[in-house]
């Protein structure tokens, strides 16, 4: 039987609050998911969608209310001790560690919970600190680190144990562009060097999911709305392609009217720059060459032509009927 890195079957989790503190919350509703070994799999959804709950179940921190979840083929309910030898997790905004220890000491301490030999752990920590540009911070006390440095340390903590499957919960939350880029690049490189490993990542950053993930599950209100590669997901909203074109002031606009499959045409004249900005939608990309020929035939020059690609946000809006915020 084929073994997935992660598999869930009708996974459901209901949080029942204490008396008088509100109604039960369905954090996960019958989630079915299959993640292949070697994948960088993304769970994309807004805050409160159920991403972290799912991750907590997979990391053996929470039990499902019903349904099944398997990590590396092992049941999260009764084989959790075996699962723990194969996983690690990193959360965004994590404050773990002890403020009075140095970065290196904190990383060493956490490595000891995985039974790694001290020397092996320390060598690995030093290599990873170098990769993340943190060597000069290895002797700094944890409490002196910036948010970005702290998160880089958290990421190192997760990877230093060399897990088969790593769960990253919003790993770049609140980080600047540079720190985020370093972490993203590291994740991609790690997976390239270790094709037998798996990364499960939750994020609400669309671009991050698009850039990193082999496949993405869009999750909202505890349910998986769609699960596919970013390209295929985007294709689902690529029924009509939107184009925008800047041309020298266009006199005859009929070229856009008579063509089959061209619609929603709008013109904005910029007399100061002697240009016209045209936006239109085509059902089929082959219409574009006819439009270009028509514009050139009447003596106008094309200054720019842009095809607006659908983003994952468009996919999400299509699925849910609203954006993240």
């Amino acid at each position: 039987m084929h073994q997935y890195a992660v598999e869930t079957q009708s996974l459901t989790r209901v949080f029942t609050p204490k008396k008088r503190e509100g109604e039960p919350v369905n954090a996960l509703n019958s989630v079915d998911l299959k993640i292949e070994t070697g994948e960088l799999f993304g769970l994309l959804g807004p805050n409160g969608a159920g991403k972290t709950t799912l991750l907590k179940i997979l990391c053996t921190l929470l039990l499902p209310t019903s349904g099944k979840a398997f990590v590396a083929g092992l049941d999260v309910e009764n084989q959790y001790e075996d699962i723990r030898t194969k996983i690690n997790m990193v959360s965004g905004g994590e404050m773990s560690g002890y403020g009075l220890l140095t970065v290196r000491e904190n990383l060493w301490m956490f490595s000891q919970f995985y039974g790694i030999k001290s020397k092996v752990a320390k060598d690995k920590i030093d290599r990873l600190l170098e990769t993340f540009g943190m060597t000069d911070k290895s002797k700094a006390k944890l409490r002196t680190l910036s948010t970005g440095q702290r998160q880089k340390m958290n990421v190192i903590r997760g990877f230093v144990t060399d897990p088969e499957i790593i769960f990253l919960d919003e790993p770049t939350l609140g980080l600047d562009v540079n720190a985020s880029r370093i972490i993203r690049t590291f994740i991609l490189d790690w997976l390239k060097d270790n094709p037998d490993k798996t990364v499960v990542l939750t994020t609400h950053y669309m671009a991050e999911a698009d850039e990193l993930c082999d496949r993405i599950a869009i999750i909202d209100q505890g349910g998986i709305l769609a699960c596919d590669t970013p390209e295929r997901l985007k294709k689902t909203v690529r029924m009509n392609t939107m184009l925008s074109m800047d041309v020298t002031l266009l006199k005859n606009r009929e070229v856009f009217q008579g063509l089959n499959g061209v619609g929603n045409v709008s013109f904005v004249d910029d007399s100061e720059r002697n240009q016209t900005h045209v936006k239109f939608v085509v059902q089929d990309d082959s219409c574009v060459s006819d439009i270009v020929s028509g514009v050139l035939d009447q003596g106008s020059k094309i200054i720019s032509l842009q095809k607006t690609e659908p983003t994952l946000e468009d996919v999400f809006i299509k699925m849910v009927g609203k954006g993240f915020e």
Partner: protein, 273 residues
């Protein structure tokens, strides 16, 4: 060759003990707060005995009891309620997903705590002894070492059990530790011979390891000339050994149960309760 379960868990114990051993030394203010300041309470009780013209060994009992409070406070605040703080800063979930026995994390905390607290307690004892001119008549140092070690194992075993019972607590952890501080000072006879509580009360209090530990140490340090000892030393040692095993076993089972309960209710990682 991969390392066995025991070696991995020993590494985990060392890992968790490390911050406790190294951490206290990095913050020199502990010398003032954890050695000098507790001496004031010791001094107050010593002076009250002096004011009442009490027999000399009672002042010795106060100094010894005052030194031992460090262990009780350490067990309450740095063992029992520790997982609450760990949960708040996000360490608990990392301990929970690690492929080692949770008992190793607790054992690491206990060993680290024992080490640093023994230093504090020894300093309090030394200064208290010099301040109040206490004379000891130590008769059996080997027995003293045995009693002290067994007391610590039983006491920290109790701390490990509390820690697992507190696992799902929020602020209750703080309040429960706060609540337990003074009643235990009372029933364990930190500042007076425990047998003055009466036999039954003293017998009940003997479930708290420091009660018998302290009683035995007083008998050993002061030759029990006044007949303040509650039980014979050998019996006390035996009971302490039994308590050590009992608390460690209870700690293991309660930890497994509370972990299961936490995973079911989702409170294992719930913060700011």
């Amino acid at each position: 060759m991969t390392d066995g379960w025991l070696v991995k868990n020993l590494r985990a114990i060392r890992g968790r003990a490390y911050p406790r051993v190294i951490g206290a030394g990095r913050e020199p203010s502990w010398i003032f707060f954890e050695i000098v300041l507790p001496l004031f309470t010791v001094a107050a009780y010593a002076y009250i005995y002096k004011f009442m013209d009490a027999r000399a060994e009672l002042i010795g009992y106060v100094v010894l009891g005052g030194a031992m409070t460090a262990f009780w406070l350490n067990v309450l605040w740095n063992m029992a309620s520790q997982f609450y703080w760990e949960k708040e800063i996000g360490n608990l979930q990392l301990y929970m997903i690690a492929p080692i026995s949770r008992m190793s994390v607790l054992a690491g905390m206990a060993l680290g705590g024992m080490f640093s607290t023994t230093l504090h307690a020894a300093s309090t004892l030394l200064i208290g002894t010099l301040l109040f001119n206490i004379t000891y008549q130590l008769v059996d140092p080997i027995m003293l070492i045995l009693i002290f070690t067994t007391t610590l194992v039983a006491l920290y075993g109790m701390g490990m059990m509390f820690a697992s019972m507190y696992l799902l607590f929020g602020r209750e952890a703080h309040h429960l530790s706060n609540l337990l501080t003074d009643p235990v000072y009372l029933v364990s006879g930190f500042y007076f011979p425990v047998n003055s509580l009466g036999t039954w009360a003293a017998a009940g209090a003997s479930l708290i390891p420091v009660t018998l530990g302290l009683d035995a140490m007083r008998q050993l340090f002061f030759s029990d000339v006044s007949g303040d000892g509650f039980l014979p030393l050998n019996i006390e040692l035996l009971i302490l050994a039994g308590l050590s095993i009992l608390f460690l076993v209870l700690a293991k089972y309660s930890l497994s149960y509370m972990e299961y309960l936490g995973k079911t209710t989702g409170r294992l990682t719930l913060r700011w309760q």
